[in-house]
Each structure stands twice: as C-alpha cells, then as structure tokens.
C-alpha cells in the first residue's frame, strides 16, 4: 500500500515537474538567448553590448492593423534575426529574411532596404501560418485543423501523398501577393496571372461565379475559395472533380501539372477581400456594372475571311475546352451533346443564337452563356457550320443505333446513355412498350427526321435518308421495345384543331383548371418542376419550352390532356371529369404562357420543327 502511494506520489511529482518545465522554459527563450549571445560577439561598441545585455527573452509580436482583420504575428519570437543582416548565413530560426529585388527590396547607400517592412506587414500576410503560435508545430500550421499552413513550405499530414510534392514551392505565396496586387498582369504574380487566364480560357467562368470576374451559376461559387479550401483540396478538385462529390459533373480538363498549379494559386488568391481596398472602394466596384463586351460585326464575309473565321473557330474550340463537355470527333467530354454532325443538322442562325444564349434554343439546357465577343461567336458558328462531313453509316439498324443514338439513349435504349443525366428534357426510354406502342409510328420517324424542338434531339433527316431512318426505327421497335404493336385506339371526340378561339376568357378558365389540376407535377410556374416532379420518370414536360410548345399540334396536345400519355405519369383527365372544352381552355392557357411562335429567318417555329404534331 505504502509502496504504491510512494510510486504514485513520485509520478505526480514527475508529471508536475514536466508540465512546469514545459510551460515555463520555452524553446523560443533558447533561440533568443542564442541570438543575444551571437549578437554580443558581433557588437561594434560597448553601448550595443550593454543594450543587448539588458534585453531578456520575451514574446515579440507585430500587430498588423492594415491588412484585413487585425493580426498578431509572434513569429519574431523565434525568428528574431529576420531583420538583422549579420545573420544571413545562419540556420533557421536565426536567419535573416532574404532580400529580393523581386519583392521590391532595393539598395540604398550599399544597404538593402525592404519594400515590405515587417513592422507594417507582419509575417502571416504573406506566409500564412498561425501568427499567435509559439510552438513550431502550431505556428507553422502543421496541425491538420489549421486552415492556412505556411504557404509553399508546410504540407499537412492528412494531405494526399500523391499531391504533396506539387504543393511545395514559394510560388504558392503569390496567392497572398495578389491580395493587394490585383492588377491583371502584375509582374510579381505570374502564376496568378496564368491561373486567371486559364479560368477564362478553360471556360471555368461559364459555370463558376467569382465576384467581379464571372457570373456562372451551375457550379459552386469560388469567390472565397482561397479562404475556404486548402491547396490540397483545390488541387484534388481540379484533377479529380469527383473525388469529393460523387455526383459532380465537372469535366476533367487534363491540364498539365504547371497549369493546375497556376489554377490552384489563382483560386487560393480568391478570398473575397482585397486588402488594399477600403470597404468604400469595394462597395463602389460592386456598383459599377460588369464590363460589357463590345459587339464586333462580321457581316459581308469574303471567302478568305470565312476561312479565317473557321480557323479561328477551330482554335477557340480547342483553347476554350469545349470538348471538356462536348464530343467532337474522337474527343468526348461525356456531358454535352455530340457536335460532330452539328454543322449538318443545325442551320447557321440556330447555332449562332444557341452559342450566344443556349437557353434561347433549348430552354432547360445547362450549357452556360459564355461571354465571348460577337466575332468569336461568329467564328465558332462558322467552324461548326464548316464541318459538313458525311459519316459512314452502317446498314444494320442495331449498328446504326449504337453509333448515333446510344450516347444519349443508352446502349440498351433505356434512355440512360452516358450523358443522359445532363440533358433536360431527358432522352426518351425507348424500351417502354406502354409508351412506344401507343403512339403512331409516323410520330417516331418524324421525330428522328426533324428532331424534337426545344430538346437535344437533332434532326437526323439532314444526315440519314428516309430508308435509313426507317431501318433504325424498325430496330428500335423490334430490338428494343420487345412487345409487338397493337392497333392504336382512335379518340374520335378529340378535335383536330382547338375548337375554342383564343381569348382572355378562355385563358382565365384554363388557368383556373391548371392551378387546380396540373401544378402538382407541372409546377406553379408551368416549368415542369412541380413538387411531385422529382418522383416521376420521365419528368413532367416544361410547358414554357416555347420551341416544344410552338411545335406541338392542337390534336396531340388535347389528346394528351384528355387521354393521358401511356408510359408516363400523365393521367387520362377525361376520367377525372375534364371535358373537351376544359382541355381546349387549358391548351389556350399553355399557349398564352409562350410567346407567339416567332419567325426565325423566314420560317416559323412550326415550319422549323413540324415533326412532332
């Protein structure tokens, strides 16, 4: 018993002693004493020696008030000699901070003079790390919970081993230079400049928003990326977009390591604040509207100008990483539609307008509206229009389907092709017999031939002959649907055209019925995104897709309302008490939501896409 007590007391004494030693005899005191000793041997006169003899180790700190929030930098507690040029050949921590002309240091009367004085700037403004820390591990930010480890010098233990070699190097500090030096081409921050170029060049700006730079809405905002994320996360997110979010559809850009590094440094510099800016200046920049791109016109092109435009369009297509999403020839981004035959299937106006505002032609497209100049839009349009190649179409329907249709509709035809989830409206599930066998065959062949307006289904008639279309349709019907067609039911009471004339009264009645019956799925905004829509496949139709509605014939619309659409969630409303009159009012209401079919070139919408009547 006594022995145990004695041992326990000894342990308590030991622990107390260790804690006492650890708390009151600091490493930094030893560093400071070493500095005082060495400085004394180098002192030139007695006054200096006397002054040094009077100095005692104490916590040195620089309080920085000019850059963002007040900072307390105690780095000089260990790094006491940073501003003492006699220590330039010593080892850390007692080493002079190097003088560098690149940082703006200059020589005066044979002595170096610092551009960024430590008393004004402190340390963490440039180096990051934990300014208040007095122990090496904490001060340098080795701890994985510290957001900003010493930039370019410290990599934290939980960072991915394959990335850490890339994450060292003093170029990473440029991100901090750019907190004040925000000019586009500041010579001291080449990596930030390159990263900014890449941000625009690789079209990151189309999806990502950075305040003051871009307005993208598809992807997470990056205005404060440098504040929120560590460099390893940024690197990983660029190199492997799905590493952190399995559902991310950000393309892989396959950039070189140097480019990734530049992008990471650029993103790290985005902290949502500019230290050099007062809050008033920041407010003013928010008030000034984003720079407008001045339109350049390309009218009256000569043949050589056209060839220039095509070459420039090709260059743009490659430089701006269009193939990160789209497919063209052999490169496939796996997200957006195949553009190989786009030049043949779409006319010049469609292409150009779609480039300028993708949603003006496919209302639910996720393609961002890029801020190119008009000349660039013209060049891209010219390039795609110039690609009039004729593909080798296999004679066999199955092969043809595989080659042309499976990228969206899936190899099995189930509407789950590799890029199907990015298309809205989604590709049709061609295996669903209840749908396929309840629509007239002409509808399908016409949809193939003329495309479906307002969707990603292009008009294959420009590429395939009628016989080929018939062949591929036959394959779909026999190879995919797998259940034989039966004779279609005739709906004798559905009028061929809307019997109720378009009037404010009729629209008001239609709206009342719509609000009562339709909003659950089609939504209050009639955009097909009602509360039930998420549970329904295929999704409810967006009734404000002006191209689709414009091409939708009265008969098909009213038959769909009254007798439902088999194979989808659209019920047969005649069973729930709706009359032909109600359906015609509803149709008038839906038409009232969409602008009257506009003329494009000299064709109306209905003429452009008559195939789906």
């Amino acid at each position: 018993m006594k022995l145990a007590l004695a041992i326990a007391s000894a342990i308590i004494l030991l622990v107390h002693g260790l804690v006492f030693y650890d708390q009151f005899f600091h490493k930094w005191e030893r560093h400071q004493n070493a500095y005082f000793d060495q400085a004394r041997t180098q002192a030139r006169n007695d006054a200096e020696r006397k002054e040094l003899a009077n100095r005692e180790p104490k916590i040195e700190q620089i309080i920085v008030t000019q850059f963002g929030e007040n900072r307390v930098d105690r780095c000089t507690t260990c790094h006491l000699a940073i501003d003492d040029p006699r220590f330039k050949d010593h080892f850390e921590p007692l080493k002079t901070h190097p003088y560098s002309a690149a940082l703006g240091d200059y020589q005066r009367n044979g002595r170096w003079e610092r551009r960024h004085k430590f008393t004004d700037f402190g340390c963490t403004v440039c180096h990051d790390g934990q300014g208040r820390g007095l122990e090496t591990d904490y001060a340098h930010g080795n701890d994985e919970h510290w957001n900003d480890p010493l930039t370019g010098y410290v990599t934290q233990a939980n960072w991915r081993k394959d990335f850490t070699p890339h994450l060292k190097g003093k170029e990473y500090m440029e991100a901090n230079c750019a907190q004040c030096h925000t000019e586009d081409n500041f010579a001291g921050t080449p990596h930030v400049n390159r990263g900014r170029q890449l941000f625009f060049g690789s079209n990151c700006y189309g999806c990502h928003k950075i305040e003051g730079l871009s307005e993208g809405t598809l992807a997470p905002e990056l205005s404060e990326a440098g504040h929120k994320f560590k460099v390893d996360y940024l690197w990983e997110s660029i190199v492997e977009p799905r590493a952190n979010l399995a559902t991310s559809f950000m393309p892989k850009f396959n950039l070189s390591d140097d480019d990734v590094k530049s992008l990471v440094i650029f993103l790290k510099s985005r902290r949502g604040v500019n230290y050099a800016e007062t809050s008033l200046a920041r407010y003013r920049t928010r008030l000034t509207p984003a720079k407008e791109i001045t339109p350049e016109s390309m009218t009256g092109k000569t043949a050589s100008q056209l060839a220039d435009a095509v070459a420039r369009g090709k260059q743009l297509f490659e430089d701006r990483a269009c193939a990160a999403c789209h497919k063209l020839g052999d490169t496939d981004g796996g997200i957006a539609p195949d553009l190989t035959l786009e030049g043949r299937m779409k006319d010049h106006d469609w292409l150009r307008e779609h480039f300028r505002t993708p949603r003006s032609r496919v209302p639910d497209s996720i393609m961002p509206a890029f801020r190119f100049s008009d000349a660039d839009f013209d060049a891209l349009t010219a390039y795609l229009s110039s690609r009039q190649e004729t593909p080798k179409i296999p004679a066999d329907g199955a092969e043809m389907f595989k080659m042309l249709c499976s990228r969206c509709h899936g190899e099995k035809g189930d509407g789950l092709g590799p890029n199907a989830i990015y298309l809205d409206p989604a590709p049709r599930d061609l295996t669903k017999a209840s749908f396929m066998n309840n629509k007239p065959e002409e509808r399908f062949t016409l949809a193939i031939k003329e495309g479906v307006a307002g969707t990603s289904m292009p008009s294959w008639g420009k590429v395939l002959s009628d016989d080929q279309i018939k062949t591929v349709y036959q394959f779909v019907q026999t190879g995919l649907v797998k259940s034989p067609r039966r004779p279609l039911k005739e709906h004798a009471n559905v009028p061929v055209s809307n019997p109720t004339p378009y009037s404010a009264d009729s629209v008001a009645r239609g709206e009342a019925i719509y609000l009562k019956r339709c909003t659950g799925c089609h939504g209050l905004k009639a955009d097909g995104k009602g509360p039930n829509s998420l549970d329904i496949v295929p999704r409810p139709r967006n009734l404000r897709n002006q191209w689709f509605i414009g091409a939708l014939g009265d008969y098909r619309a009213m038959a769909s309302i009254l007798y439902g659409i088999q194979g989808t969630a659209m019920p047969s409303w005649i069973d729930y008490g709706l009359t032909v009159k109600d359906a015609s009012d509803l149709l008038n209401y839906i038409r009232s939501l969409n602008p009257a079919p506009k003329a494009v070139g000299n064709k109306t919408v209905a003429q452009l896409a008559p195939g789906v009547h």
């Binding site: 107390h16 002054e51 307390v72």
Partner: protein, 157 residues
C-alpha cells in the same frame, strides 16, 4: 513471535521511509503548482503595439527636423548629429500634443511645453517623456517606449 518482530521492525522503517518519500513528493508537487501560479502575476504578452519599434533610418531625419509621428505618438528631434525621441502624450489627460514653433501645445486644455518638453503653462503636471533611441542592426533607429531617459539625453549618430 521473535521471528515476526524483526521483519516488522524493518517493515516499520521501510514504511516510514516510504511515507516520508510520498509526503515529500506530494509537497513538492504542491509547491511547484503553487509557484507556477506566480507566473500569472505578469502577462506574458500584451495587446497593443509593441514598445520597441523602428522609426526609420537616420537619413530620414535631416538636421533641424522636428517631426511628429502620429501613429506612434512621438516626436523625432534632430540637431546635427544629436537625435532624440520625445513623447507627444500630454501628461495632463493624455491628448496628443501638437508640435509648434515654440515647443509643444496641447489642443485639449491648453498645456504648453518648451522645445525640450518642459511645462511652461497650462494644467500639465510633468514634462514630456524622452525615450531611449538605439540603432538596430538593419541600420534603422529603434525606439523603446518602456525605457524613458533623462531630458537632454541624445543619441549621437
């Protein structure tokens, strides 16, 4: 019984040694803990600008300079090779005094000081403080506001 007494005697002395040892160890722990508290009598670091700071190179202050550094609340005075740093904190209620032709004048309650900081009028009870100046290794002048010096103590460049 005699067999038992011998070990019990040695056991007693062993026990008492252990007791003393335990008591000493625990007392030592208590003493260390108690002593450790004294460290908190004085703060290890204080917030606010550090008391030692650099004001620039001697060349920045040509002879005849009397210039006030408002952020630091000091006035740098140089006459030939002699340089001094005088506090501009009024000794009355702590306003920042202005540098005038005749010396210093406080805008708050009209205290007046001569060129060396001696009170010549107004409510101020004491003359202005002079601070120690030294040359840092990087060639800049360093002021230590924790080290007041006697009036008329100049740093010679």
């Amino acid at each position: 019984m005699s067999e038992k007494t011998t070990p019990s005697n040695s056991g007693d002395s062993r026990r008492s040694i252990l007791t003393w040892f335990s008591a000493a160890a625990l007392a030592g722990s208590a003493a260390i803990s108690a002593l450790a508290n004294f460290i908190f009598m004085k703060p290890r670091a204080t917030y606010g600008q550090p008391s030692r700071y650099s004001i620039g190179r001697p060349d920045d202050f040509p002879s005849g300079t009397r210039v006030s550094i408002d952020q630091r609340r000091v006035c740098v005075v140089r006459e030939g090779p002699k340089l001094a740093v005088i506090s501009t904190i009024c000794t009355h209620l702590g306003c920042t005094v202005g540098v005038s032709d005749t010396g210093f004048a406080c805008p708050c309650h009209g205290s007046r000081y001569d060129q060396d900081g001696n009170v010549v009028g107004g409510p101020a009870p004491k003359s202005l403080t002079w601070y120690q100046v030294s040359l840092a290794p990087n060639g800049e002048l360093e002021v230590d506001t924790n080290a007041p010096v006697d009036q008329g103590t100049y740093y010679t460049i």
